[in-house]
């Protein structure tokens, strides 16, 4: 892993919401193709960290370099960097006034990455990949939660991102739909996508993650392979958390 390209470099990242310090100085490097799962109790700063990576939350202090772009630098065109960072949200956030296929083709066409025809072809390919090609002309309101999230993953992939961020992608799903979304993510990981995932699915973390990062109180408490962090945690807080969720 050491000789791989560093995809995400974060140094001393701090994020405050008013007086509340959510991230109190986080540093982490993520290599190309690595799958990192962030675990931790709610309020530990996992989602905030993820949202800082593509600057949906503006970092208060520290440096974030993604794919050689310093996203914390004011002179960086954040829109260009975001084209290479796919994001999947807990509540899907599909565009309800557009069909499934239009949801996927909107960004590539508007940002002139593809012609309408190319974007449609690519969109259908992606829908096939997530098993949703028969719903291309449906509206989001007509889909189940699991289907929505698979479309949301396809939408994020349409821009050919180098890295994918997942913010609790299965937390809003009925239990029977969690599997279909996780298996799409697992395939993506197997294809070598760089992924940063915030989740409460310990089973998924154990199976798919290259590295588990356990966060609490705005810091990284412990990190390592799933075997190290989940099966043999060393820190008190990690043990405590795992006892509660397992």
């Amino acid at each position: 892993m050491e000789d791989r390209k560093i995809m995400v470099h974060v140094k001393d990242l701090k994020k405050n919401f008013g007086k509340l310090e959510v991230l109190k100085g986080m540093s982490i490097d993520i290599a190309e193709g690595e799958v990192v799962v962030l675990l931790g109790p709610s309020g530990s700063g996992k989602s905030t960290f993820l949202r800082c990576l593509n600057q949906l939350e503006i970092a208060t202090d520290g440096t974030i370099i993604i794919d050689d772009h310093d996203v914390t630098d004011k002179h960086t065109d954040i829109n260009v960097v975001r084209e290479n960072i796919g994001m999947v949200f807990q509540h899907f956030n599909l565009f309800p006034h557009k069909t499934v296929l239009e949801n996927i083709t909107l960004a590539p066409v508007e940002l002139k990455k593809m012609t309408k025809e190319e974007a449609k072809d690519k969109g259908m390919q992606l829908l096939k990949r997530v098993g949703m090609e028969q719903k291309a002309d449906a509206y989001p309101a007509q889909l189940s939660g699991g289907q929505k999230q698979r479309v949301a993953i396809a939408r994020a992939l349409a821009m050919n991102p180098d890295i994918m961020l997942f913010d609790e992608p299965t937390s809003a799903l009925d239990p029977e739909m969690v599997g279909e979304v996780l298996s799409v993510m697992q395939e993506l990981a197997a294809e070598g996508m760089t992924m940063v995932v915030v989740t409460h699915e310990i089973g998924f973390a154990r199976e798919v993650a290259d590295r588990i990062v356990f966060m609490d109180g705005g810091y990284i408490v412990e990190q390592g392979t799933p075997d190290e962090v989940i099966s043999h945690p060393k820190e008190e807080r990690t043990i405590d958390f795992l006892n509660k969720v397992l």
Partner: protein, 222 residues
């Protein structure tokens, strides 16, 4: 009553036309004004927020009739005192400006509320794909906001149509002003105002019916 319709029918219809013209012109400008100030208000720029709030508060804080006097009489007087002699403002332009400013302030609030009713995740999802704030607003947020805004916008259209009657005070030949003339000429006060009232009512009820239809269509397939 028949006598009035026979003698003044054409004049009444012409002034109704003027009323509708004034309403339409004002509404077009009010939409533009409203959109600009609404966008100033929802953005993160503090200076724009301040300007947006100031505009809405200032215009809503002044009665329309005062605004109309200010624009029709006050501004030309001010310009004249600066030494420019041949500045003139027609009643139509002054009326349109006054109504558009007034209606624009209310429109700004309607549009702002519409934009804020759209889930924040929509903007975030759009931005996360690399679309700019402006594109996200235009392609993702506003199309969804418009649906919730339609009933309020139509309501505002009707209010503006009725507000045109206030501009009778700056001698604009709209329906109410014509009513005054006819009542003064014929002394048939009850009949005149009944006819004028009915004319407004017919136009507004027709508008409301059309509005209901548009609203139903916009809600379909939601």
């Amino acid at each position: 009553m028949l006598h009035i319709v026979e003698t003044y029918g054409a004049m009444l219809l012409r002034s109704l036309g003027q009323t509708i013209l004034l309403t339409l012109l004002s509404l077009i400008f009010a939409m533009i004004v409203g959109l600009i100030f609404a966008l100033m208000n929802v953005g993160r720029n503090r200076i724009f927020n301040f300007i947006g709030t100031l505009y809405v508060d200032a215009v809503r804080g002044v009665p329309l009739i005062v605004l109309a006097y200010f624009i029709y009489f006050g501004i030309p007087a001010g310009i004249k005192s600066m030494g420019i002699q041949n500045f003139r403002l027609t009643a139509l332009s002054a009326g349109t400006i006054a109504l558009a400013m007034n209606c624009g302030a209310y429109m700004a609030e309607i549009i702002r509320a519409g934009i804020e009713s759209v889930d924040k995740g929509q903007m975030e999802a759009s931005r996360s794909l690399g679309l700019s704030y402006g594109k996200s607003m235009r392609l993702v947020v506003l199309p969804q906001a418009i649906r919730t805004m339609i009933p309020s916008i139509i309501n505002q259209f009707i209010i503006t149509l009725k507000d045109t009657s206030i501009l009778s005070v700056i001698a604009f030949p709209e329906l109410t002003n014509t009513g005054k003339t006819i009542a003064g000429n014929t002394f048939k006060v009850l009949e005149t105002w009944t006819i004028v009232g009915l004319m407004y009512m017919i136009v507004i009820i027709t508008l409301s019916k059309i509005a209901k239809r548009i609203e139903r269509r916009a809600n379909r397939g939601r």
